[in-house]
Symmetry: C2
Subunit: 190 residues, 2 copies
DNA sequence: GCACTTCTTGAGTGTTCGTTCAAGCTTGAT
DNA sequence: ATCAAGCTTGAACGAACACTCAAGAAGTGC
């Protein structure tokens, strides 16, 4: 057995960044080889195909996103405040120089036409995130209200993920988000 | 001179549909040849490159979107009512079987990494649409308020364009949009 | 009917794509 | 020292990619 095996988690982190920036079609296996430092053979032995690699990247991103979200919501003094902080962070992200939206949103739009396994996974991950919000909100609102608030949240999150590319000033976006989600306790975040 | 020249507008309509569904990278020139019925040589003589074709498709889509928007807003009894109708139509579209979001939004996310001419065009077209909303709203609100309402509108529009893929029931989406844009005269649309 | 112009044609260009696999290498066990 | 196991290697594969161009076809002016 060879001693030095490559670090699977590190490889997944590398391909996630690459696919996130370039998309499934936009990132070639040659670029994956370069980004990971591995040779084609190793990649195919470990992940089976380009699609397998993308699947691993999606799972990694989704798990990390969900973990960050749960952590933010549980650290906050109230669920509402946690949600506000999460949204403000997204707006902040969208102002960065190398901003590249949300990996899941980009994947959803790129892969929608294919209708394959990847697209199904993406939809599942996004729906899970919505359910997560709905569950947390279900603790303080009636079920119907929680579901509708969660939908409104997702609408705004997806909105930020696209709107961020237009490069408008931070304050305008924040004001628009606050106006659309006026039921959140924004005053607690100042 | 050959008698029968191809119908440029029809060709652009065909490639728009193809690129809209498949994306820039997802649609090959072979598919363009099939979709238009033209041969590669004719396409390259008329449009120069795949990028040129995409540029033409983007322009066609943007012009048509803006025309539809203006028409909707001017036919309505008030600007607010027109905007409501426009949003409701978008939600309706998102429920269709072959739904493929908004061509500009998809292009923005796919081409953001490239940073080329296409991406610049897309950003311009999207910003034009936002300005259009802001101008119409400027007729009934102070400039600052109009700008912020326009931003909130764009946030919801982009949100609908992505959220539509999750396949939730129409009424939930409509309720969320109404909740986020409660300053619009929704009662006038029933 | 004969050049001339202009558009159409589609086989063919070189390149890059995702993927494979036989050979090589590094270890632990004998 | 030798072996077997299995990860690593990278050259090579056919297919598909965006794109080209010499030849053909159809109309116009004479």
């Amino acid at each position: 057995m060879t001693r030095i095996q490559f670090d699977r988690e590190q490889v997944i982190r590398d391909v996630t960044r690459l696919f996130w920036q370039q998309g499934f079609g936009g990132a070639s296996m040659q670029m994956v080889v370069k980004a990971t430092g591995l040779k084609p053979g190793s990649l195919y032995l470990a992940f089976g195909s380009k699609e397998g690699l993308y699947q691993a990247a999606l799972e990694h991103y989704a798990r990390q996103s969900q973990a960050t979200l749960c952590q933010t919501l549980e650290q906050a003094t109230s669920i509402g405040e946690g949600i506000c902080r999460q949204l403000l962070r997204m707006v902040e992200e969208s102002g960065k120089v190398d901003y590249c939206s949300c990996f899941l949103v980009k994947s959803q739009l790129e892969l929608a036409a294919s209708g394959g396994d990847l697209q199904h996974s993406v939809s599942t991950y996004l729906t899970e995130i919505e359910s997560l919000y709905a569950d947390y909100l279900g603790g303080i609102y009636p079920p119907g209200q929680a579901r509708q608030y969660a939908a409104s949240l997702m609408l705004h999150i997806f909105g930020i993920r696209v709107y961020g590319y237009l490069g408008h000033e931070r304050d305008l976006i924040v004001a628009a988000v606050k106006a659309g989600l006026s039921w959140l306790p924004w005053a607690d975040c100042d």
